[in-house]
């Protein structure tokens, strides 16, 4: 069950970043600390550090994405890398090119890093195990499996508000079944020592056997939110109605939509998170999304620092680069 070996080099450094599962607590803390050193870069007059100068990063998005792709792009640019953004879902694969052939073509262009988003679980593992040894692969989301940079930026955001993970009670609400974010967050929270992880949703959207990942299952939103410190609301996709997983959006909102009344059951200083894009009035009420307790926009800006950290750390394993923001101003 340990997939970490492929992502670490012989010295235990991060070579690829594919999944949180199996990584050491110290490595996750290292990512958070490194991101901290980068978080000031965006506020400077010159928003760049030269860490990845001369490196070429290719964004391989086999599935559409706006925020993940643009924050990776921005992160690469702030590290002074050259970045290629390929919207592959519209090009080569439509012409019948196999995934391996697409990879080998990009390898021939001497890229140093692939950021991969793909609809199939395991695609990032597949790519990492087939690319040339000098290329690092960062998983930008694969199927329902993992979205490790999203999980780390969420940990970063949580830590800004609640520095001690061991005291945290976290609830993840909604479509756990189809969520790579939920899976990666569960791994990250349990490695960082959160005191309780809850998943809340109807039986149809909670995958069977998820209790083996160390979470508590709640079907009653009111019971599940009681006394939690962090609420992660997941996006509900329309097609879940068509596949008989849910009767209707309105029933879903009534049972699991996060409203002010339900939020009041959590701790008074609880924070509300969402990986975006949000569906107002379906999984979250506008008043909650725009409230003081919502940290949804902070998540987005933290995404850049986390992605800079992960890119710098994986490149360090390749070439001995020091992954630090240098003379960054503290926040």
């Amino acid at each position: 069950m340990n997939d970490s070996n492929i992502q670490l080099d012989d010295n235990g450094h991060l070579k690829h970043f594919l999944t949180i599962e199996g990584l050491e607590r110290s490595l996750l803390l290292n990512i958070l600390e490194t991101a901290e050193t980068f978080s000031g870069v965006g506020a400077r007059a010159v928003k760049k550090v030269p860490i990845l100068r001369g490196k070429t990063v290719a964004n391989l998005f086999f599935e559409p994405s706006t925020r993940t792709r643009t924050t990776f792009e921005l992160a690469a640019k702030r590290l002074s890398a050259d970045i290629l953004s390929l919207n592959i879902s519209n090009s080569a694969t439509k012409k019948g090119e196999s995934l391996l052939d697409t990879l080998h073509t990009l390898e021939a262009m001497h890229c140093d890093m692939f950021i991969v988003r793909h609809a199939n679980s395991g695609a990032a593992h597949f790519i990492a195990s087939h690319v040339a040894p000098n290329i690092s692969v960062i998983n930008g989301g694969d199927g329902r499996h993992a979205h490790p940079t999203q999980a780390m930026l969420d940990m970063f955001t949580i830590r800004k508000h609640k520095p001690d993970f061991s005291k945290l009670r976290v609830a993840i609400v909604g479509d756990i079944l189809h969520s790579r974010v939920a899976r990666s967050e569960i791994h990250a929270l349990s490695i960082l020592g959160a005191s309780e992880i809850r998943v809340i949703g109807p039986r149809t959207l909670i995958p069977w056997h998820i209790e083996t990942m160390g979470v508590h299952i709640f079907h009653d939103m009111n019971a599940g939110l009681k006394d939690v410190d962090v609420i992660v609301v997941l996006r509900l996709q329309q097609e879940r109605m068509r596949s008989a997983l849910l009767p209707s959006e309105s029933e879903y909102f009534r049972l699991y939509g996060l409203t002010e009344e339900k939020l009041a059951l959590a701790k008074p200083d609880a924070i509300v998170m969402h990986p975006g894009p949000i569906n107002r009035g379906i999984e979250i009420d506008s008043r909650v999304a725009d409230s003081r307790q919502s940290v949804i926009l902070q998540q987005v800006s933290h995404g850049i620092a986390i992605r800079m950290a992960v890119m710098a750390m994986t490149m360090q394993s390749q070439s001995g680069i020091q992954p630090e923001g240098g003379h960054a101003d503290p926040d």
């Binding site: 199939n120 679980s121 395991g122 597949f126 694969d142 069977w208 056997h209």
Partner: protein, 431 residues
């Protein structure tokens, strides 16, 4: 030609033989055991001391990929691999291209196997036309052409009325129906067992009930029509009590499981190992233990290779896009010997599940070495160690989930009708 096999440990469960003895072969048949028949003069003597002498294995399901998928494997390549693995009779499921739903395809396969085969090849005909699950295939004609049973391959017969009529019709043709049972709507887009790994890997799961519900449907149908049904590739623990109960009540049912399912489980999927993408899926450790118990208890009658060789490209894609199936024909015998070492059951029982019992299910006279029987047999060095590597595999399919495993047991000779097919005169493969 007359052959004497000296001092081998003969295990022939059908005839309750389990002892060190000499085997005398004359004109392709077993002439005598222990004592030389009158006038016997060996043209060829094989020293089998320290070795096992077994009936040639009867494999209820091995895909040879011919016709239609010769880029994956051929009758020549896979029957050669069978011979090297001690398998002398192979049943080929109907999902070739074209499908085995006409006597012409049966004749084509039989002819090619005769011309270039190193094992006896038997066909399972289609249960429904094109395996579409809609209209009945010409079962009687298929039987006349030599099919040993009918099957819908890995495809479901979703319509229960069609399934009922197919079973009824098969019973009136007196032909065994080999059914892989899986409820298509419960499988949906599933690619792995719904369990501790599907949740972690984010891969769509196939619940164990997809199999047990489909088996229960068949059992209720054959309560009324006593059609002979063989349940193929049983994988799920919850199916087993139903099959046991049906047998106890005297329903004419039998069952097999693939060798991989007796050794591997969902845990082996870790790291998205495409060679463990199987159909039916590898299930939990609990299921695997239940299958082992069911084999020992006779609920599972037979072990088959469930050999599904693929070309490299078929697996060189992300997990859920890869074609399911494992190339296993090379490892059946050493793994079977391992079952005995693991204490699952005594060796004769395991050999029976690989020889006499599958032969009975397929209606073949093979699988036993009594006097007068056709001399299809293999000689095995039971302790010879080897490591499974792509180079060691004789099958052209290198998609073997046991790559890297240490095996104990290697076939040293295989005779088909008293003639050596491994090693053969023309065989340059290293033993």
């Amino acid at each position: 030609m007359q052959i004497q096999i000296k001092q081998g440990h003969l295990i022939d469960p059908a005839n309750q033989v389990d002892k060190v003895t000499d085997v005398f072969i004359s004109d392709g048949k077993i002439a005598s055991l222990g004592k030389s028949p009158r006038g016997f003069k060996a043209d060829h003597t094989i020293d089998a001391s320290g070795r096992l002498v077994l009936p040639g294995l009867v494999d209820l399901s091995a895909r040879l990929r011919e016709p239609g998928n010769e880029h994956k494997a051929t009758i020549t390549s896979e029957t050669h691999a069978a011979a090297c693995g001690g398998i002398t009779s192979v049943c080929c499921p109907p999902d070739t291209r074209p499908v085995i739903d006409s006597s012409a395809v049966v004749e084509l396969i039989h002819q090619r196997a005769l011309d270039r085969g190193n094992a006896r090849v038997y066909c399972l005909g289609a249960l429904t036309h094109g395996l579409q699950g809609e209209t009945l295939a010409n079962m009687h004609a298929l039987k006349q052409a030599g099919c040993i049973g009918v099957s819908n391959g890995l495809l479901p017969v979703a319509n229960t009325a069609v399934l009922r009529r197919a079973l009824d019709y098969a019973s009136s043709c007196d032909i065994t129906v080999h059914l892989f049972c899986e409820d298509a709507s419960l499988r949906d887009d599933g690619v792995v067992h719904e369990g501790i790994m599907s949740v972690r890997m984010g891969l769509p799961g196939i619940p164990g009930t997809a199999e047990s519900i489909a088996i229960s449907r068949v059992l209720q149908l054959i309560e009324q029509t006593p059609c002979r049904v063989h349940f193929c590739r049983v994988s799920s623990a919850q199916s087993l009590p139903m099959i046991a109960d049906a047998k106890q009540r005297g329903l004419p049912v039998s069952a097999d499981t693939g060798i991989s399912h007796l050794f591997l489980s969902e845990v082996d999927l870790a790291g998205f190992n495409n060679n463990c993408h199987l159909c039916p899926p590898l299930r939990s450790d609990t299921d695997r233990e239940a299958l082992r118990k069911a084999l020992a208890g006779g609920v599972i009658d037979a072990i088959c290779s469930d050999h599904q060789p693929h070309n490299a490209d078929a697996k060189a894609v992300p997990f859920s896009q890869s074609e399911p199936g494992a190339s296993t024909i090379d490892v059946v015998l050493p793994l079977a010997l391992q079952l005995a070492r693991d204490g699952v059951m005594e060796l004769p029982g395991i050999i029976e599940a690989l020889t006499a019992r599958p032969a009975a299910i397929a209606g073949l006279e093979a699988g036993q070495l009594g006097v007068g029987a056709v001399a299809d047999l293999c000689i095995v060095d039971p302790d010879a160690p080897w490591t499974v590597t792509e180079d060691q595999l004789v099958s052209t399919g290198k998609n073997n989930p046991f790559l890297g495993w240490e095996m104990h047991g290697k076939v040293t000779q295989t005779l088909l009708g008293g003639l050596p097919v491994y090693p053969a005169d023309t065989d340059h493969a290293t033993p």
